[in-house]
Symmetry: C2
Subunit: 404 residues, 2 copies
């Protein structure tokens, strides 16, 4: 069996953890499997390199930043090869040039486009464990690119797709995908399986188990991902094609505190005004999530929307600057809000779900400030200090702790 | 004018030193020159990476070590590009894959074989300062190799040769090549010029200004090297083809304390015994320098030779192990010895030089333990604690402090 395994930075942060991961790899080698391992940079290496760059230049070029930070993964894979060799196993490390892994040219958030498998297969045929740098690629000019946050997960899925691997295992600091964050909800249950779309909705609503790009890539190439813990030996969660997943009405509750609500008050109630507003934000690469527009009166309306909290200040500054052009009266911003979402593939065919969710929040005395729905998700915006009770209330309401 | 400049690890060890080097580069850019800069890893980075490898494996594979330590130079060049950009100048960093710089396949001490100039020239044409990783290359299998100690100097000379550069400047922590080590000899004089062969003899006898491989490469491609200080603004020493150098009778005195003398006592005085002895050492990659054989009596002879002090223990262990096979009585080793050498292209045609050198040592009460001569060098082995007086005595004897 050909297995692609991915370990994150915290899993290889210390010499002892590197040895621990090496022993896990060896178990699979001893079981007769062919192994490709994707590694992130050790511990805080990437952040430290970024800090060193910013010390020299507060606004460093993305091309040079990628050249700099990509060294972290190269150190990880070489050290792991050295460790496996010390334990008596054959191993070889490969960077993005050597594989090769081609991306588009967008430094800092490149997308993988093409992976050569010849060298990988040759090294596997030689009996090597192959250690591949995560998070990076090269573009057609042979410049180093990085894939952005969660990039190593995407590398693992892309390698699994290119090599037609039998398994793609992503090791994290949690044991799998849960019905709710176990830090908030004591009886949260680990899901045995979840569909790609539900995983995408959970990821975009704060369950940071897998990055969206990685799940999108897995869905595109139909790669089954097994999410499991690098510390605890236990079965994880399989992320796979939705039709193969036992359809659950709801699969989980997720919370996202990195949310701010911005309101643009008394904007003229004329066609094109909403477009001007959101066009302004998208031109500045600010992603808007939930949008709510008041019913107009006196020829004006209020538009409220949510953005990631860390881009709120920039969004407000841009809107203030263009207040005259938008003909709006005022911009307000609230950061003490959070988004709580209920996700489930079965939701689309059951209209009572939203009602039950609102009932649970009402009983917990949680005030709903905004609502947004999709076919497999209902999100509400609430006050940040009520997140825990909201998640617990919804989790209990749908009895998510019970295996369906 | 196209200039290749090389800065070592200590020249870029701190953010302030990186900025200092950036300012020196900018001076040349402002003077209208096209600039290629070769950098080593910052400060002690390489040693730290080696230590991390040895923590995982006392005997790491050279292929993986090269993969690991080559990241140090990549960090240096990216950080320098980022720094130059912060000062308003265009810069781009390139690693061994990107240049490309091909070597043979000997990990840890590879030799540069072929350098592509297309990308370098394209980046220069775009108006970029081009920052190239020193010390490394890729072999024909696209694996990362490193060039060994002093490798970045060799990279600079090879790039200067490939690009037909007008100048090749190697910045070090000394101001140039001196008639003797200025730490020992107060009136040591900085040479304006020195020939390749003399520089090679000086380098191999302890003047660690330039590495031998770099000088050999410069001689092969007739690249003039300017050795100068990264800290002090002053004219350095030009290393160039000997026939173009004003032939001095003697150009300098060098001392090497990293020497040990090993003696193999009472080895049978039969043909083939010396061969067996030195073959044993060369098979174990131990380099022998001066060799002295006693005149045989009673059918046996003593063979003494010098090796680098840090390989003495290994050499003695090998010899002890094979004492029976060699039919020798005993192996002794003295580490408190040093080699002092007088180097000069004019030496070959002047037979009185050796006599004058021995006279100087006699007057300084320095006992000579071994003697070795070449066309442009006379070396003597003396007690380590007499090195300073020996160097001063020889320097004075030949009035090297005077410009000839």
């Amino acid at each position: 069996m050909l297995i692609v395994k991915k370990y994150g930075g915290s899993s290889v942060a210390t010499p002892e953890r590197v040895r621990n991961v090496a022993r896990q790899i060896i178990e699979d080698v001893e079981a007769g499997h062919r192994i490709v391992v994707v590694l992130s940079a050790q511990g805080k290496t990437t952040d430290q390199l970024l800090a060193r760059a910013r010390e020299m230049n507060p606004n460093p070029s993305r091309r040079e930043l990628d050249m700099l930070i990509s060294t972290g993964e190269q150190q990880s894979v070489a050290l792991m090869a050295i460790t496996l060799q010390s334990m008596g196993y054959q191993a070889v490390s490969l960077n993005a040039f050597q594989v090769p892994m081609y991306t588009n040219k967008v430094y800092g958030s490149a997308r993988l486009e093409r992976i050569g498998t010849e060298r990988l297969e040759a090294e596997l045929d030689c009996g090597n464990v192959v250690l591949v740098t995560g998070f990076q690629g090269i573009n057609r000019y042979e410049d180093v690119t990085t894939l952005g946050r969660g990039g190593s997960d995407t590398t693992a899925v892309a390698l699994a797709a290119a090599l037609h691997a039998d398994r793609c295992q992503i090791y994290t600091d949690v044991e799998g995908v849960y019905t709710a964050d176990p830090r908030y909800v004591k009886n949260a249950r680990k899901l045995a399986e979840i569909g790609y779309d539900e995983m995408l909705e959970l990821a975009s609503t704060g369950a940071k188990v897998l990055h969206n790009r990685c799940v999108e890539m897995a869905k595109k190439y139909n790669v089954e991902i097994e999410v499991l813990s690098s510390m605890v030996k236990a079965t994880g969660t399989i992320v796979k094609e939705d039709s193969l997943v036992e359809r659950m009405m709801v699969s989980g509750v997720a919370a996202d505190k990195n949310v701010a609500r911005i309101s643009v008050m008394r904007i003229p109630d004329r066609p094109g005004k909403a477009f001007s507003l959101f066009n302004l934000l998208s031109q500045n690469d600010i992603n808007v999530d939930i949008i709510l527009q008041s019913i107009g009166h006196d020829g004006t309306k209020d538009i409220s929307f949510t953005v990631a909290e860390d881009s709120a200040d920039e969004a407000v500054a841009i809107l203030q600057e263009h207040l005259g052009q938008l003909e709006a009266a005022e911009v307000t911003c609230f950061k003490d809000v959070a988004k709580v979402s209920l996700v489930g593939a079965g939701m689309v065919s059951n209209s009572g779900i939203a009602t039950q969710m609102f009932e649970a929040l009402y009983n917990a005395h949680v005030n709903i400030r905004m609502i947004s729905t999709s076919e497999i998700k209902i999100s509400v915006l609430i006050d940040e200090d009520q997140v825990e009770e909201a998640v617990v209330a919804i989790h209990d309401q749908f009895r998510l702790y019970e295996k369906k």
